[in-house]
């Protein structure tokens, strides 16, 4: 049943709302500009989150530094026998640990995004005339910034333990870049994962299930020649091995071109597939 409408709409006599909203960008340049600015706004937000969550801060700063110390002392003795003459374990280990920490950090990307999706703030993002993809690009970019900071810290600890870059500044920068690209790729990968696996806990669990075998089945901790054949075969073709080998060669010498090309190709290839996939998925589920 419906009672009749007897009220008169209050529209009469009221001034129109003056809206100061910026008009929609119509051309491509404008869209790219706003995409970039929205990404940066969300990046700033995620970096603030990062420093305001003690748990996260510890996980992603203290822990990698601790690993540098622990692994180098615990495995240093036995690993030494498998290493070439003149290479100390810390020299071998540190570039590998860049990759190790990038891989584990990416599970935090999944958790962070999953938490965002459960938070009310995403509703507001969605009702704003902002780029939707900025929620993803802002997160992965913040992770990249964080990644650089962590690599810096690890280098500091490594230097205290005797690690030295031997191939010059340019190569050292190259090592950090290869690792950062790998790290960026892993962030996107885990963003994508979080968009399919609902819930922060699940995202984290799913992350670890993938990460553990990948990290240990690679050249991060030991040369793959020391592994049983089947594992060596797996490790030799792992993108983690490529990244670790590339970083290692650029840091302390060795054949660099092949692992660098392989690692960059993997990262770029995966990004090319996964970014559109993630963005599409995000637009659909959110």
């Amino acid at each position: 049943m419906t009672t009749s409408t007897t009220s008169e709409p209050g529209a009469a006599g009221r001034p129109r709302a003056d809206t100061a909203a910026v008009p929609a960008p119509t051309h491509l340049g404008g869209r790219i500009y706003w995409q970039g600015r929205d990404t940066w706004t969300v990046t700033k937000r995620n970096l603030r989150h990062f420093v305001r969550q003690p748990r996260l801060l510890v996980f992603s700063t203290i822990q990698p530094m601790m690993f540098v110390v622990l692994f180098s002392f615990v495995f240093g003795g036995i690993a030494q026998v498998a290493l070439p003459e003149g290479v100390t374990y810390i020299d071998f280990l540190l570039p590998g640990l860049f990759v190790h920490s990038a891989a584990f950090r990416s599970t935090q990307t999944a958790v962070g995004l999953a938490e965002d999706l459960e938070r009310g703030v995403v509703d507001r993002f969605r009702s704003l005339p902002m780029s939707r993809a900025a929620v993803l690009s802002g997160r992965t970019l913040a992770d990249l910034v964080r990644s650089l900071a962590v690599v810096g810290l690890m280098i500091g600890v490594g230097y205290a333990l005797g690690f030295r870059f031997t191939e010059g500044l340019l190569a050292a920068v190259g090592a950090v870049l290869v690792v950062s690209l790998f790290s960026f790729m892993m962030s996107w990968l885990f963003c994508t994962l979080a968009l399919w696996v609902p819930g922060a806990e699940a995202a984290q669990t799913a992350g670890f299930v993938f990460i553990f075998p990948l990290v240990f089945g690679s050249s991060i901790f030991v040369p793959i020649e020391t592994m049983p054949d089947w594992l060596a075969l797996f490790a030799a073709n792992s993108p983690l091995t490529h990244a670790a080998d590339a970083a290692r060669a650029l840091s302390i010498g060795g054949e660099a071109l092949r692992p660098v090309l392989l690692s960059v190709a993997w990262s770029v290839g995966v990004l090319a597939v996964i970014i559109p996939l993630a963005v599409r998925r995000y637009r659909r589920i959110v």
Partner: protein, 382 residues
């Protein structure tokens, strides 16, 4: 041009039909209150209109733009303050507003200025540099509302803006809302409180089970359910039958200590006085006696002969359990019109109105007990 045009919008979540073919129009500059109990479909409708949820069927347009096809354009002219504060808990109030301002594509400086203005206006300046996590519920809601206003929206959605707030925060929100409306913002507000809709809205649309079941001004709706009552709680239930005989037009309620007397237009003091005098004369003491406005439960019972969808009490009147009221004798209505008219001794004494199937609004008072109990109680006392 209409600000909002909704036609035959449907939305289903699995088994639940959250919106069952809603039609609604809001003119530019108008304030419409969407009144309905928990689970009625208010949030779902607002989310559809705010482009957050695509409808399964039907059409929704905002200033002529389709919410699905022109979502981005729609987002430029709307603001949304949802039922749950959509602010970033880890950022401070100021950081939140700056961020949303930038995402509204204001320049960094403009976003900063606007943030400061809004912090002042919403009485949040002192807390501006504390993380939103540390805010009280009221502060959070104010921050949330401020976040919708960085760019003045042409159309603002407020989804239960004051539910669960303390009176101070509620007043602050009402005040800002009125200012916005005075400035010409069109407002669609959802609420579970008739009082709130009445205070703020030009027009009220009542929604239940995903369907608009009534539209009109607050007065229209109140007239439809018979206006105010004098609500009496006796000290001793044993006195009630005597009281019901002595007090003109008294109607028993399910609580054996309670009864009520409908009040006609402009006769509140008279009826209040008559009730008090009569009770004093025959020596009956009361625990509580006062004027009560119609509640949402009353509106629903009157309009649908059914309990609110969620069964949840909306305003502390006790849960009007659906099952207790569905037995209902249709629209009831009898109580309001007949008894207010028959202000005198008329036939509508307590046992009478109970016997012929108590007015459905009584069940609103039932606090969950079934109609049957009501009758039994009445007989036991009588």
């Amino acid at each position: 041009m209409s600000a909002v045009t909704v036609s035959q919008v449907r939305k289903r979540f699995g088994e639940t039909e959250a919106l069952a073919g809603v039609d609604l129009t809001v003119d530019e500059g108008e304030v419409v209150g969407l009144l309905g109990p928990n689970g009625a479909g208010k949030t779902t409708l607002v989310r559809v209109l705010a482009t957050l949820l695509p409808p399964d069927a039907g059409q929704a347009r905002i200033f002529g733009l389709n919410v699905v096809d022109d979502a981005n354009a729609v987002r430029r002219s709307i603001g949304l303050t949802g039922q749950h504060a959509a602010v970033d808990e880890l950022l401070t109030g100021r950081e939140n507003l700056r961020m949303f301002g930038e995402l509204f594509h204001l320049s960094g400086r403009r976003a900063g200025d606007r943030a400061d203005e809004l912090l002042d206006r919403f009485d949040l300046a002192d807390a501006a540099d504390r993380p939103a996590r540390t805010y009280s519920g009221g502060m959070r809601r104010r921050l949330d509302l401020a976040s919708s206003l960085l760019v003045r929206p042409r159309l603002l959605f407020l989804d239960e803006p004051t539910t669960g707030l303390d009176p101070r925060s509620r007043n602050a929100i009402w005040e800002v809302t009125r200012e916005l409306v005075d400035d010409g913002t069109t407002l669609l507000l959802t609420t579970q409180y008739l009082e709130e809709a009445d205070q703020l809205a030009d027009r009220i649309a009542v929604i239940d089970h995903g369907d608009i079941i009534a539209e009109g001004t607050g007065d229209d709706l109140k007239d439809a359910i018979g206006g105010q009552v004098v609500d009496v709680v006796l000290l001793d239930p044993a006195d009630r039958s005597r009281a019901l005989e002595a007090v003109p037009a008294a109607e028993p309620l399910s609580d054996p200590r309670r009864f009520r007397v409908p009040v006609a237009e402009d006769s509140a003091l008279g009826v209040l006085g008559t009730v008090a005098d009569t009770l004093r004369r025959i020596g009956i003491e009361v625990h509580d006696l006062g004027l009560r406005r119609p509640t949402l439960d009353d509106v629903f019972l009157e309009l649908t002969g059914d309990g609110p969808a969620g069964g949840a009490a909306s305003d502390g009147q006790g849960g009007a359990d659906t099952s207790s009221t569905t037995a209902g004798d249709g629209q009831g209505g009898a109580h309001a019109s007949s008894t207010t008219a028959g202000d005198g001794q008329g036939g509508a004494d307590g046992s009478n109105s109970t016997d012929d199937g108590a007015p459905s609004a009584d069940a609103a008072e039932a606090g969950g007990s079934a109609r049957g109990d009501d009758d039994d109680d009445q007989e036991a006392v009588a």
